[in-house]
Amino acid sequence: MKKIECFIRPEKLEEVKMALTRAGIVGLTVSEVFGAGRQKGFVEKYRVSEVTVNLLPKVKIELFLKDQDVNKVLRVIVTAARTGEVGDGKIFVSDAIERVVRIRTGEENEAAL
């Protein structure tokens, strides 16, 4: 089992979500985060002065999935989330998930996904 964490532009969430659904992925969790990276912070004007906002609003998606789904999901996310501008975000894959439990039924592992 793998875990995918990705950070995308908030305005792309809807699209990514729909693309994943179409690809058969239903389980995922989304959260609101603030990111820094190559994308420069923007300058917020307010009254007569400015402030540089370094941490930009991003969306994090976490997915736990079977090993064989990883490539598909990577492709889907990259396609749906890309604008080509700096700040599109990144996807990280980790392979350390050793166990899953579905709370409702107590089922474990693949069955629980």
Binding site: Y46, R47, V48, S49, E50
Partner: protein
């Protein structure tokens, strides 16, 4: 019921209702200030705005009203003859007497005239406006205990004394009768008495208390610290604009004076052009309209028209508002970039700079159709453009006196208070937020679930 007492009733009803509208402005100030500051200080800023009302009432009732109006004499529209408020402390210089403060009416003791009692309410809510202005400029770092003491200072002493000079029969109002400067300082509804006093006191306070942590970079460049709820600040601006229809038209103390119509219209027009000018200015300067500055622009127009509203034509009101709208933008910039003062809500610029512009604009645009006999001077109040230079000088002298007296006394007050007890919270408390540090609870508690 005879016709005179019916007329007095109309006047009393008018003065009370407009006074209630002015009282409601307190809610407007609260919203503007809370909206333009940060979440972590929202309760503190809100409670300052509520408690200044309570504290101000006490200070003005016990001491302030007597100092300000103890010697004002008759209030003819309210059927009050000259016997009640008739003790002014005066000194004599150059063979002229200078009224400095009143000496009767403290705690309303001995006063049975309902006209005076209603007048007390009306004047009290005006004082309250002054008192609340500095809470915006000193927000997000003011120690609660220091603020409470300030509340008594401004309501019992600072405001009443300058107020006496202009409205209580004191020396500035006599500049005309004594020295031939027009009608003396004329300030119809308080551009100087209420707003400039508040703005200049805010300036002294901001200078003594220093800028919020993070407001200026090491090289002195100001950094924006956005307020947490701009729609709230704009709602507050609406409430203020609404209340101003009490402020200005009510200042006739008479509902039977038809002049109330043009006063209200001038108030309306200046508020519109003030907002419009600020919109154009920020659009041009920042590329997009700035909502907070538009709100400041509307308030600036209102502050500026407060003195001249009864004396100028609608077209002049438009012009006064336009200039106010630009002035507030430039002044906010000046305060931040040149004076390096930190004023989260723009109180110094809205009330101080435009309060001054208000009395000066009267000296320029007064059209000579109103004010016969005002301050004991025969003839109409007439400005520069209509040929009376001396009135213009009276206004300048009044503005100068306001600045020197209010800045001086306030600066000393804040400095001494700071030395004795410290007026600023610790840096830790400031970073943590004043709601956690000085209030029992934060503004927007949130179950995580």
């Amino acid at each position: 019921m005879d016709i005179t007492s019916l007329g007095n009733s109309i006047n009393l009803v008018w003065m009370l209702i407009t006074g209630f509208l002015v009282m409601f402005m307190q809610a407007g100030f609260a919203l503007v200030e809370v909206g333009m500051t940060r979440i972590k200080n929202a309760n503190h800023t809100m409670l300052m705005n509520m408690m200044i009302y309570a504290i101000g009432i006490l200070g003005f009732f016990l001491l302030g009203f007597g100092l300000m109006f103890g010697g004002v004499g008759a209030l003819s529209t309210l059927g009050v003859d000259g016997a009640v408020l008739s003790r002014e402390f005066t000194i004599t210089l150059f063979g002229k007497s200078f009224g400095l403060f009143g000496l009767s009416g403290f705690a309303l003791s001995g006063i049975t005239s309902m006209g005076v009692i209603g007048f007390f309410l009306f004047q009290l809510v005006f004082m309250d406006t002054t008192a609340t202005i500095p809470t915006g400029a000193l927000a997000e770092r003011w120690k609660w205990k220091a603020f409470v003491i300030y509340g008594f200072f401004v309501s019992a002493i600072l405001y009443p004394i300058y107020g006496n000079w202009v409205w209580g029969g004191g020396w500035l109002s006599q500049l005309g009768a004594s020295f031939g400067f027009g009608h003396g300082l004329v300030d119809f509804a308080g551009s100087s008495v209420v707003h400039m006093v508040g703005g200049v006191c805010a300036m002294a306070g901001a200078a003594v208390i220093g800028a919020r942590i993070g407001k200026f970079k090491k090289d002195g460049t100001p950094v924006a610290i956005p307020g947490h709820n701009i729609p709230m600040a704009i709602l507050g601006t609406f409430i203020l604009a609404f209340g101003w229809f009490g402020f200005n038209p009510g200042s006739t103390l008479s509902g039977t004076d038809p002049r109330i119509a043009i006063i209200a219209v001038n108030t309306l027009l200046a508020s519109a052009t003030g907002a419009f000018a600020a919109m154009l200015y920020t659009w041009w300067q920042q590329g997009r309209p700035d909502p907070g500055m538009c709100a400041n622009g509307m308030l600036a127009g209102l502050v500026a028209i407060t003195a001249p509203c009864a004396f100028v034509t609608p077209l002049a009101a438009l012009v006064i508002g336009v200039i106010a709208g630009f002035l507030v933008c430039v002044s906010v910039w000046f305060v931040e970039w040149v004076l390096k003062l930190d004023d989260p809500v723009g109180a110094i610029s809205v009330h101080g700079a435009n309060g001054l512009w208000g009395i000066i604009s009267l000296g320029i645009f007064a059209d000579g159709t109103y004010g016969d006999g005002l301050n004991g001077v025969k003839g109409m109040v007439t400005g520069l453009l209509y040929g009376d230079v001396s009135q213009f000088f009276a206004q300048l002298i009044g503005g100068l006196a306001c600045f020197l007296f209010v800045f001086g006394l306030s600066f000393i007050f804040f400095k001494v208070q700071d030395m004795i007890m410290g007026i600023r919270v610790s840096p830790e408390d400031e970073v943590l937020g004043l709601d956690r540090a000085e209030m029992t609870s934060i503004a927007y508690p949130r179950d995580i679930m």
